[in-house]
Amino acid sequence: MPRQFVFPVVRVGKPLAFCVLALPLALLGIDVWREFQLPGSGLGPDPGEDVVHHLGTWGLRTLLLTLAVSPASRLFKRPQLVRYRRMVGLWAFTYLVLHFLSYFWLLGGYAAGVAIDGRRLGFAEALVMDIYKRPYITAGFLALVLLIPLAITSTRGWQRRLRRRWKTLHRLVYPAAIAAWTHLLWLSKGSFMDPFVYGLVLVVLFGERIVFRIRKQRRARAASAV
């Protein structure tokens, strides 16, 4: 009997996935390097905005991809897909942290000193005021904060330690995704194509979970009735 082919997830799949997920960051790195060599050659007239936007876009995309792993594994009946979920999620977190930092340094304007209500604020105070005063920043920051405990407890050790509570804790990814989408919605002006498209993806990913849950409950009820 010929041996069944098993795809080498650890030796091939994961390094491959890592490279694909790192690609947007690598491309940005190349642009930034070219920009460093000759200003205007790598990025557009507003390079700070380009960097922040690129990182935010890929942060949201990888976050949605994280949420797509479980539905995809059910749909294609490939349970081994779940083994990639942590890596995708950590990349999403990485992009979002870089997005936040780049906003802070490149667009926030704290270096020049931000005056709110005519008063110049200190560095940390300016950040707090920004988060407090601007709803879209509040939403974006909330998404990032919600993801911090998930990134910390993403290791196998924490998984063991928290046992069943780990799963409950990691449901925080749902409000985080909603907050990230709200951030996009509130910063959009003039056109709502992006929030619409990403919102649609979010609805599909949430919808699949609801349908899956209802079916599972029905099956459980049917089983207990027998």
Binding site: G44, P45, L106, R134, P135, G190, S191
Partner: protein, 322 residues
Amino acid sequence: MLIKRPSDIRTSEITPESVYRSRRRFMRESLTVAAGAGTAGLVSAPAVALPAEWLTAREVKPGVPIGEEMTSERDATSYNNFYEFGTDKADPAEYAHEMTVDPWTVKVSGQVEKPGKIGLEDMLAGIDLEERIYRLRCVEAWSMVIPWIGFPVKKVLDKFQPTSDAKYVEFRTLHRPSEMRGQRSFFSNIDWPYVEGLRMDEANHPLAIFAVGMYGKLLPNQNGAPIRLVVPWKYGFKSIKSIVEIRLTKLQPKNTWNVLQPTEYGFYANVNPNVDHPRWSQASERRFPTTLFRPNRIPTRMFNGYDEVASLYKGLDLSRHY
């Protein structure tokens, strides 16, 4: 039967189209606007606007340098907010060439003695062109320094003789979805056409100009060809592009962004570092050219540094009338 009096026939209507087009090509190659501040290069503009030999052959009084670094022509013509062509900053430069700007007529109506439709050439007849080097401050907290070519708004308004009831001026941008893809967009929540307005005394202020050119050339389409408003002490969205209609009114016009989001955009929209936009601090700005390693962030000045307009707003609470 329509009797066409000689005065009804405009010069722009007489010229056959073929002559027009060849002239345009000729002008593109030999544009000779005597612009100052070292901008008199004769390189062809990214998107050609007018065919107008009558315009490009004119003398332009050179502008006065303001002692601040000029934004590069490349930045000013590739980073634009012109939502009629898409919401991305690069969209206008990519798609604005789809807009026909020749021939161009402007309709003037409302509280004027002499309303009517007028070709651009006739509208500009007898008006001298001058270069104005202005700061342009966008509400999104970035800014540029641009050498415009134009003339005071007042000179055009006076031609139509505003009545004593004319308290405001309303401007409208071209509405032509077939050539403006942003206006066709399903996801746009803007009620086209784009509308902006000024108080009569603001429009008559010598700093308020109509621009027909920049950097010593005709205005590129993405910058609002063939004629746009430039009001340097107000946020950029007030400086409406590709104007086809001017109405003088008794009541304050309902400007597009104010209608869309009244908590974020007012009617006055004077540059004011002390009144924050809900999404951005207005205390400072990114001045182009900016690079990743030299952000060039500078403090924003009241009225964008044009203190001479302050008297227009005496007694007006600018934190309420933002």
